[in-house]
Symmetry: C2
Subunit: 451 residues, 2 copies
Amino acid sequence: MKKFVLLASAIPSLAFAAPDRTADLRDAALKDDIAWDITEGLTTEIGQRMAGTEAEARARDWAVMKLKALGFSNVRVEPFDMPVWVRGEEKAEITLPYPQPLVLAALGNSGATPETGLEADVVYFPSFDALKAAPDSAVKDKIVFVSHAMKPTQDGSGYGHYGQARFTGPNVAAKKGAAAIVIRSIGTDSHRNPHTGNTSFEAGVAPIPAAALSNPDADNLERIFARKKAVRMKLTLTPRNIGVRPSGNVIAEVPGSDPDAGIVLIGGHLDSWDLGTGAIDDAAGVAITAAAAKRIMDSGRPRRTIRLVWFGAEEIGVLGGKAYFERHKDDNHAIAAESDFGADRIWRFETKLPDSAKAVADRLANALFPLGIVRGSGAAGGGADVGPVIRAGVSAIDLNQDGTRYFDLHHTPDDTLDKVDPKALRQNVAAWTAMLSVVADAPENISTRRP
Amino acid sequence: MKKFVLLASAIPSLAFAAPDRTADLRDAALKDDIAWDITEGLTTEIGQRMAGTEAEARARDWAVMKLKALGFSNVRVEPFDMPVWVRGEEKAEITLPYPQPLVLAALGNSGATPETGLEADVVYFPSFDALKAAPDSAVKDKIVFVSHAMKPTQDGSGYGHYGQARFTGPNVAAKKGAAAIVIRSIGTDSHRNPHTGNTSFEAGVAPIPAAALSNPDADNLERIFARKKAVRMKLTLTPRNIGVRPSGNVIAEVPGSDPDAGIVLIGGHLDSWDLGTGAIDDAAGVAITAAAAKRIMDSGRPRRTIRLVWFGAEEIGVLGGKAYFERHKDDNHAIAAESDFGADRIWRFETKLPDSAKAVADRLANALFPLGIVRGSGAAGGGADVGPVIRAGVSAIDLNQDGTRYFDLHHTPDDTLDKVDPKALRQNVAAWTAMLSVVADAPENISTRRP
């Protein structure tokens, strides 16, 4: 290996080092306890907080109490109404050729079987594309089983591709006349914990019973189909639509000194799926963003107002994000960012900034590199909840978390506090604190909408 | 590092190598597919096979068909009757101070709550010893929660220690007047899959409802107790005793050439808990022992008869092992060994042999060292099913599997085929094949009972 000769002039000297407030805040955040405290509190004292339910209402009360206690300003709930779907009984068994129970979970918006269950022949499709290509006659009155081959990726992009089996597979099967559908969980683990999640039926299409099998159960069903025998399944799913109920977004602010500089919008979502306790999805996200905002607040008034939103009802159609946008689309948002991809370490950042803010991105890169975070070459897109704001033209920053483990846990009963690595959580807080320090105080214009 | 000088005389020469039948059989077994075929078949075509149920009966039929197809002799079922307990509905929720659902599974022999559930204050004990030490007044009419701190160990010895909370915790709580008991799962994972297993009540003690919480749920309950608030729980468990039903042991043999040399008794258990598909507990064990016996059979008639037993009803009280012993205690058993500790690699062997067989243990050590298996300094004790035979004085060999992962999966829904590592399974078959080759053909007397 070649040796590097260091010239004396290349070694930074303490005497020349300018004070670096961002670096100091970032490094202090590596000892953060605020984010753990929020994640632990929300998962322990509330647990599951399914959108539109009484549990989500208790989570809002908890959030208001916690955000006020942390010293934020303008802490409030902005309510909205929503239709609510709740899980019922869920059971499945193979009745032929090899009788045995299966582990599954209904998808959000699933239709119900009769209370005594529904038994039908099963037809197997190795992929969503295979289901789409099938003639109606192959599917009619049958229970459709759709599998796939999702594998973990660092950026999580397999979700969009393989997720189609869940997002629209039931709608496609319903239109072809299927009696019901079971899909292989959109997940990358091999535990007997099914991955739920929302599915959508087109207007006019009657929802059919739709559920996700755990991956080991899907493996087993594939092995059974490999025996080339007729397969029958009995399925009992009794979810219900319980009508319109209240949800809401919880908002807190760190007031800035310059109202004209625009708002830095950050947050995550407060609701969770009902199977787990919503630790990585998304207690961690609301906790990371709140901890970072608190650290900026405690270090002095920033130039820009930081608005922290803990969105309601994300999981069942981004209802909180849409309600926020309807109410606040004319607010002076300078930039938006969201944490909703777990609690593992941030490995990359991307930006969508006006040309006037090129130096801001450079300062971000300098501030984040010591945390092992690289600059990506793509454009930031924000998260689901801040998506409407960003699509309306607002600048954005993404702090990308490592998603390799995320779809092991996503939407499963296994999304519990023990899956959060405290060290990675602190790295997240440090990155968000550094980002907020750079962005909230930037003297440049950072808004793409109001140059 | 010091260099070693190899003398020419220290290098074994092919010209001097005697044929080593055991080594040849062992090395061929490293490519075994028989054990995988059995493990895959039993978990796919039968799945769960709870003792005394119709599923266990189908497993016996499957076993007879498979063992005959493999070419074994004297394939038969030896039936026995047993009382059968079956799982019902199982639900739990914390009602105070932080309402939320919990994931749990009833323990075998658990009593039932009313169908509408049972709600009571919860009292927390960090260990089984703490429960034992508590006065009746601390427990009466309450739901007892017993936790513990089980950690993985290579030899699995934590099970005996921590397992007391399950084996006899419910009996202790019942005698003190508890309304019900929930224990932290006797398991070392952190997934939301509870570990079931049998519990026993003394004669005259009425069974109370008894269940195991998944470890993440037990963590959560401990965090709730750390808040120093009164905790209430609603528990619904509706298991039933369905009366006396048939079970049975499936037996197959490789006839030996010398009836006076005694029988080599090997096997595992065919039944499984109802939550998983019994892949590591104990499809792997019956598969490993059958594959090894088949390999010996195909290589020529051994001196000693190898008797392979796939025991029934092990999980709910070693009923198959006891029935076998009652029927066969006067048979000329030379030695016994069992595979019932998963499918991970074998790391050690131990023996219980008469002095006349010292050379046999030395040959075993030579045959197993190339598989990374060391000689232990303790005495072999056999597995649960062959335990009665060994305790009656029969020689024994233990091939100890690495148990570090075993209690992550043991008795959970997650005991499924994907948890079996095909390479480790083959190492097991190779070790068992080598052991059988040494033991079945040993010219020495190996029996402690009949010198």
